[in-house]
């Protein structure tokens, strides 16, 4: 594989490292001609080019099986690109060593469709885990978690058992876990897929509030009704290629919604 050649990890993704000024000036995310193959003859992503600026909110859409999750997995290095480059803050994360991947992920907040909440932990514990990883002192963890709970609308509910929460509340806990280390980029993979429509809007609104404080958000969904309610940038994956619209469905280039969500 191409990505395994360079052994030296980038200092930016080491413990305690901060992005330098030139790094901050660069787009937060650039994909250059990215290919991902699961079968040799049929790439899931074929030549994807993409640039995401700091503070953007973008939907990633496309029919089921289009490669939305695959694209996000390339970003948090669950998967490696087969061709092309993925630059996060100007760094090629395709070449990160296994040892550096944790430090890359500390700059990301990831939210999934299935919440990935530990049921036998309390709400507090589920959120605090993201800070314990950073070896943060308990006192600081408590105040940061309380703050995150407030942001997701679960003020003072840290001691509750997560198994008693509704789906919408669980997803709020997951969002709190994603934002509590104050990551630069939030990756949400169908975060509303398991929720009722009105709860889906609530969660989308929550992500927009997070975005309004400066955090970049990539929101993958194939839910047309959700996309149509907003004017965010639209990144659509179709047959492995990206088709884009700056302002939601309003200026969609193709022949309507059908090319977009199948």
């Amino acid at each position: 594989m191409q990505g395994t050649k360079v052994v030296r990890p980038f200092p930016f993704f080491r413990a305690g490292a901060r992005a330098s000024q030139p790094q901050l000036a660069k787009p937060i995310l650039v994909l250059e001609d990215v290919y991902k193959f699961f079968r040799p003859d049929q790439p899931t992503l074929r030549g994807v080019n993409l640039k995401v600026e700091r503070g953007e909110f973008a939907f990633i859409t496309g029919p089921s099986g289009a490669g939305k999750s695959t694209l996000l997995k390339l970003l948090y290095r669950e998967l490696m690109v087969d061709e092309g480059r993925v630059l996060f803050c100007g760094r090629d994360i395709g070449r990160l060593t296994d040892k550096s991947i944790p430090f890359l992920r500390r700059n990301l907040g990831i939210v999934f469709q299935d919440f990935r909440i530990i049921d036998h932990w309390t709400v507090f514990e589920n959120i605090a885990v993201a800070l314990e990883i950073l070896s943060m002192p308990q006192r600081l963890i408590r105040s940061r978690v309380a703050e995150a709970l407030e942001r997701v609308g679960l003020n003072g509910r840290g001691d509750e058992q997560t198994s008693n929460l509704s789906g919408g509340e669980k997803q709020r806990v997951a969002v709190a876990r994603a934002i509590v280390p104050e990551p630069a980029l939030i990756l949400a993979d169908e975060p509303t897929g398991n929720l009722d429509p009105h709860l889906a809007i609530d969660i989308l609104t929550l992500f927009e509030e997070i975005n309004s404080t400066g955090t970049t958000v990539l929101f993958a969904t194939h839910d047309h009704s959700l996309i149509s309610k907003r004017d965010h940038r639209l990144i659509s994956i179709d047959e492995g290629r990206v088709v884009e619209a700056r302002q939601g469905l309003k200026d969609w280039p193709g022949s309507g919604i059908h090319t977009l969500v199948g």
Partner: protein, 293 residues
């Protein structure tokens, strides 16, 4: 901070997997108990050998027709030796009497002629005389005219040495076996624990946890299991020792003149530390294998 967090999470792990861990710890405690009991045997054999080896004895059997003057001269020579503490003359009558008293046989042996019991000089050596030294003294004394035979208890010591060596080998073999048991049992337990915590491991990894962060608690949990097993075994052994040593002591004292001793401090400390260490190794191996982070 890392260690503290790992300990907190290990405590949570121990609480959550307590059923699993109790089974592992109790079976390993039995293994450690076997090892501990063997070590206790070695310790006591060692102590006995030590005591006997220190209180060296030589018995000079005298010829039936020995000249009393030769015997007296021999005594003078013996008492002049710096290695000799005490010399006692045992007459055939005394030898017979003490034999009849000690030998608790059913048959009536009092009719045995006293000629069966030769007269002897019981030589007690001072403490700290080495076995080689007592051997060479015995050889020299054997050359005296009045002496028919010398007993330096050499073959007896040899037997004791052999026994001790055998016991040590047994203990070493058992230690090796217990080590493998601990590694296998704890390794397997940790593998199960890893499988059961798959979800939280995945969450931690997605949040950016390093390998060490994820693995740390499992290693601590394995370490704790090893330590707890060894501790249980040592405690059980101590309870057994305290309950039994008085009754065993009196029998043993009559038999060999020694008392039962418990494991030395270093021995049981080594058991505990070794248990913890091997537990940690077992879980570390398992975690390396089953927790590909």
């Amino acid at each position: 901070m890392e260690v503290k967090s790992a300990m907190t999470r290990a405590r949570r792990g121990l609480r959550e997997e307590r059923r699993l861990y109790i089974v592992a710890v109790s079976s390993l405690a039995v293994a450690f108990l076997c090892l501990g009991a063997t070590l206790l045997g070695v310790t006591n054999l060692d102590a006995a050998a030590d005591r006997w080896g220190q209180s060296g004895r030589i018995t000079l059997f005298l010829k039936d027709d020995a000249d009393p003057q030769d015997i007296a001269q021999l005594r003078v020579v013996l008492e002049g030796l710096s290695d000799v503490r005490e010399v006692t003359h045992v007459t055939p009558e005394q030898a017979k009497a003490s034999f009849l008293e000690e030998a608790d046989v059913g048959a009536d042996l009092s009719s045995l002629p006293k000629e069966v019991f030769p007269a002897s000089l019981e030589v007690s050596l001072v403490n700290g005389v080495t076995r080689e030294r007592s051997e060479s003294i015995a050889t020299r004394l054997g050359q005296f005219r009045a002496v028919s035979d010398v007993e330096s208890y050499r073959s007896w010591f040899q037997k004791l040495d052999d026994l001790l060596w055998g016991a040590r080998m047994l203990a070493a073999g058992l230690a090796l076996l217990v080590m493998f048991c601990v590694i296998a049992v704890i390794g397997n337990t940790i593998r199960l624990a890893v499988a059961r915590r798959r979800q939280e491991i995945e969450v931690m990894k997605l949040c950016g946890a390093t390998n060490g962060f994820v693995r740390g608690p499992f290693v601590l949990e394995g370490m704790f299991q090893g330590f707890a097993s060894a501790l249980l075994a040592v405690l059980a052994l101590l309870v057994g020792y305290l309950a039994l040593h008085e009754s065993v002591d009196s029998t043993l004292a009559a038999l060999t003149g020694s008392r039962v001793v418990f494991l030395g401090v270093w021995t049981w400390l080594l058991l505990l530390i070794g248990g913890a260490l091997i537990g940690a190794i077992g879980s570390a191996l398992s975690v390396r294998r089953y927790l590909a982070v």
